[in-house]
């Protein structure tokens, strides 16, 4: 079993997944992630001894692009989370979603999403990582827009896509900068070469900013966080998957992965600290405002992501360990809580925590899951969440963190306590309000397929809290791959009476206090209407509106519908662009003039000038076309004398054809004979025409003035006959040396003809009389 196979197995399995979604019970699809989980677990002992598994696959050899995959501690932690939680999610989704014609499509998208996540975390190549990164954006677009009939769902899917893809573009720029500076796109080589230490000054700052922008957009950092809360319109399995182990953690992953390269740059620590803690603060405030369970959980996800980003920014060896422990803690409890929220939604018909209560009696299994997960979220012993929180406080107390950030950490953790209490206590043991539930709802525990996954994850949170040694070496390997050196990692539940414990107590007290006055806190926070009106989400809408207003304005400006205007615009802009570039880059050169030459070389220009004047002075279209034809024939003679018989031949044919056809067209068209332009317009058109002519003369002069590089024409002259058996260089180039170009050109020609047919038949509503023996241009009956 190779690493490569593990990544491509889900992609290869896609058709099978689709068929299974159609014909059999979709629960069997969960076998795919389960199998992958076993595959990755098989590598765990190797990776825990700080070995890495590397595999390269040639992708585009002519560009030197390989797909490199590398399994180290960090990648393995992510891969296990993706596939392990994936198994629970696939199983849960098979019972959660109604089986209909959407089912196969949904599971296919989920499967592709999982594969892209695996590809992203295992890629050792920056470009490969980026490709998989964008694939997760695309497949999450399909998943969030699960119900395309709803406008809300379309908007959220689009918002998620636009924000994450825009971030991806920034990241691409950053990666290209990093790759070209470091001389390699392979992350392990960038780390080994100590590229970060050589990056300095503004280049380093730009690089950090661009790459962090990508990571922030994916990991929903302030002010790019609004897509994540809106993605809650997706079905619950999607939210649970995207928010716990996958999509949003990818930004955190990237920051951790590039930490050894970029942490030497001065901007790194302040940027991550500031953005991370700002995100924590905003997420906490927004979470306390919400009553919808899924949206509350979404905002706490934002808080957690902020925490992780902040921790990566802290320049302290314990910070990475705290980040990794918290990553696992959060993935375990958040996945279970999301699935619990979905179960409540299914059973009680609502997710509004303001009216939910007393479900514990009717749903005992769900209540147990919710309590275990919530205790871990609140950071209470003996769960893994407690260890995670203690580690975070240890970092916060290390003296490397500003006081403001420390205060935000306490607020964020208190917020976690409140939300945990709302979900576990209020919904399951609070004052039951049966009457408030939608009619006909009998709360009940769901089928085992829905509770098995979250129960296992919640119990894991407890077991690992009691036995932290079980994940110690795995997380140690992950920390080693972030730090670049072996890390001494000792996890323990009980640290004794430490300052961290004291702060835990403070947090708990604050959280309980907030919880008791929850409804009052909510009312108070709701009074800040400015958040709704001017928050990032509202700004996103305003931005989109402004964009469409701008494009309406711009379309009106450019697409006037007047052919003369189009001509003036295109020709004028081309001329201006050429002249500006030439003058700015000082490329305007005049060739030395020669006074010798054959007689024709003097006569021809005079003829051409005379014909051009005739075009300008012509009183009718027929006159104008014939004069223009004369100019064209004159140019063909120039080609002929210049030693380009093929070009002259073509020019003659084209001229003859266009004169014949144009004359025929003119004969049919109701052209106004008088020139309708005002003198002002005529002057403007004349100016543009002169400018255009002048710009091309300038280009010609400059080209002629430069010494001619003969290497290409020498090559063609020498190799035309031996290689291509032809003496006509032009034709040999067209059909042999550059045949692909020609193929492209005749394809364009064909498309133009097809487009003309389409326009012609599209514009004529009436069924015109035509020859029925012409099948290819036959049109559909109206």
């Amino acid at each position: 079993m190779t690493l490569f196979l593990l990544i491509f197995l889900p992609l290869l399995a896609t058709p099978v997944v689709y068929l299974m979604g159609r014909v059999s019970n979709p629960a069997f699809i969960a076998l795919v992630p389960a199998l992958l989980f076993c595959g990755f677990a098989y590598y765990a002992p190797t990776v825990m001894e700080l070995n890495t598994i590397v595999q390269h696959v040639q992708w585009i050899p002519s560009l030197g692009i390989t797909l490199s995959f590398r399994l180290d501690g960090l990648a393995l932690v992510f891969a296990l989370l993706i596939t392990g939680i994936g198994t629970a999610i696939f199983l849960y989704a098979s019972a959660y979603l109604p089986r209909n014609e959407q089912t196969p499509r949904f599971f296919t998208a989920l499967n592709v999403f999982m594969a892209s996540m695996l590809g992203a975390v295992l890629s050792d190549d920056l470009l490969g990582l980026l490709v998989f990164w964008e694939l997760t954006s695309l497949s999450s677009f399909i998943l969030i827009g699960y119900d395309p009939a709803r406008a809300e769902s379309r908007r959220s899917a689009q918002q998620g896509l636009l924000i994450t893809v825009a971030g991806g573009l920034a990241m691409l720029a950053g990666m290209v900068l990093l790759g070209s500076f470091g001389g390699t796109y392979r992350i392990s080589e960038l780390v080994a070469n100590d590229t970060g230490a050589r990056l300095s000054g503004s280049l380093g700052a730009v690089l950090v900013f661009l790459i962090a922008a990508g990571a922030f957009s994916k990991s929903a950092q302030f002010p790019l966080h609004s897509w994540l809360a809106n993605a809650m319109v997706a079905p619950t399995p999607v939210s649970a998957y995207l928010h716990s182990a996958t999509m949003v953690k990818l930004g955190v992953y990237l920051l951790a992965r590039l930490h050894p390269v970029l942490s030497d740059i001065a901007l790194w620590t302040p940027l991550l600290l500031a953005v991370g803690s700002l995100t924590m603060f905003c997420g906490a405030v927004l979470a306390l405002r919400e009553t919808d369970l899924k949206r509350i959980l979404a905002y706490t996800t934002i808080v957690s992501l902020g925490t992780m980003v902040m921790l990566i920014g802290v320049d302290h060896s314990a910070a990475i360990i705290a980040m990794l422990v918290f990553l696992v803690v959060h993935a375990l409890y958040k996945a279970s809580l999301f699935m619990v929220a979905g179960i409540i939604d299914h059973a009680a018909g609502t997710r509004d925590s303001a009216i939910l209560g007393g479900l514990g009696k009717a749903m005992p299994i769900t209540a147990v899951i919710a309590c275990l997960a919530a205790l871990s979220m609140a950071g209470l012993p003996p769960l893994l969440g407690f260890i995670g929180k203690e580690l975070i406080y240890e970092v916060a107390l290390s003296g490397r963190v500003p006081y403001m950030v420390f205060a935000v950490v306490i607020l964020a953790n208190a917020c976690m306590v409140v939300v945990a209490a709302v979900i576990a206590l209020r919904c399951f043991f609070g004052q039951g309000a049966e009457a408030a539930l939608p009619p006909g709802c009998k709360p009940h525990d769901p089928s085992a397929r829905m509770w098995a996954g979250p129960l296992v994850l919640a119990i894991l949170g407890l077991v690992l809290g009691l036995m932290p040694k079980w994940i110690q070496s795995l997380l140690g390997a992950a920390a080693a791959s972030v730090q670049g050196e072996a890390v001494n990692l000792q996890l323990a539940l009980w640290h004794g009476l430490t300052p961290m414990l004291a702060f835990s107590m403070v947090t708990l007290a604050a959280g309980v206090g907030f919880y008791l006055f929850w409804s009052r806190v909510q009312r108070c926070l709701h009074s800040f209407g400015v958040i709704d009106r001017w928050g990032p989400d509202a700004l996103y809408d305003k931005g989109m509106e402004a964009l469409s207003r701008f494009s309406t304005w711009q379309t009106g400006l450019i697409q006037t519908g007047s052919l003369r205007h189009y001509m003036a615009m295109s020709v004028g802009i081309v001329a201006a662009a050429i002249l500006i570039v030439m003058v700015a880059s000082d490329a305007l050169i005049f060739p030395p003039l020669r006074a010798d030459g054959a007689g024709a070389e003097f006569v021809l220009p005079l003829l051409l000038i005379a014909a051009s004047i005739m075009v300008l002075r012509s009183r009718s279209f027929v006159q104008g076309i014939i004069s223009a034809g004369a100019v064209g024939f004159g140019v063909a003679v120039v080609f002929l004398l210049g030693g380009a018989p093929d070009l002259a031949f073509t020019q003659f044919s084209v001229e003859a054809l266009s004169v014949v056809i144009l004359l025929a067209v003119i004969g049919h068209m109701p052209f106004r004979s008088a020139d309708p332009r005002t003198p002002g317009q005529r002057a403007r058109d004349a100016f543009i025409g002169v400018l255009f002519g002048f710009s091309f003369v300038a280009v010609m002069f400059s080209v002629v003035a430069l010494p001619f590089n003969e290497s290409l024409s020498d090559f063609f002259r020498e190799s035309s006959f031996p290689l291509a058996h032809g003496r006509n260089l032009v034709n040999v180039i067209i059909v042999d040396f550059r045949a692909l170009d020609t193929l492209g050109e005749i394809t364009v020609l064909a498309l133009a003809a097809l487009a003309a047919v389409a326009v012609f038949f599209g514009s004529s509503r009436q069924d015109l009389p035509m020859d029925r023996s012409a099948p290819a241009i036959s049109r559909k009956e109206p």
């Binding site: 018989p645 014949v660 692909l740 035509m770």
Partner: protein, 132 residues
């Protein structure tokens, strides 16, 4: 357009234009000429024949539909590249054979494709115009 001179003259032009275009296509690899020029000249012949006579007359002298001609040309050009693929070279690497001391290659197929595509495209535009 309907002058007698043009009508009579163009009926003489068409066969000569077609012959000339085929000749140019054939000799194009070694002498001035080729598929592109050949296609243009053939199209000019058809255009001068059809303009005074109309669409029906064009259909009578054209064995197949102009879009089919275009498709045929594009197809021929595409197929000519397959020989290279089969010989394990890059696509559009032309293959050659010597017949009676004269080198013949898939370039000719490619050039015929260009000829037909150019002719087909112009005739499509022409017949759209004539149908109006």
């Amino acid at each position: 357009m309907n002058s007698v001179i043009f009508r009579v003259g163009s009926s003489v032009i068409l066969p000569f234009a077609l012959l000339l275009s085929l000749y140019l296509l054939w000799r194009g690899h070694n002498e001035p000429g080729g598929g592109f020029i050949g296609g243009l000249i053939a199209a000019a012949g058809y255009a001068s024949y059809a303009l005074p006579r109309g669409y029906t007359a064009l259909r009578q002298v054209l064995p197949i539909d102009s879009l089919q001609l275009l498709a045929l040309g594009l197809g021929a050009a595409l197929m000519s590249g397959l020989a290279g693929l089969m010989a394990d070279h890059a696509y559009l690497t032309h293959a050659w054979t010597a017949m009676g001391g004269m080198a013949l290659g898939t370039t000719l197929v490619f050039d015929i494709g260009v000829y037909l595509a150019v002719l087909g495209a112009i005739l499509t535009f022409l017949s759209l115009f004539l149908e109006q």
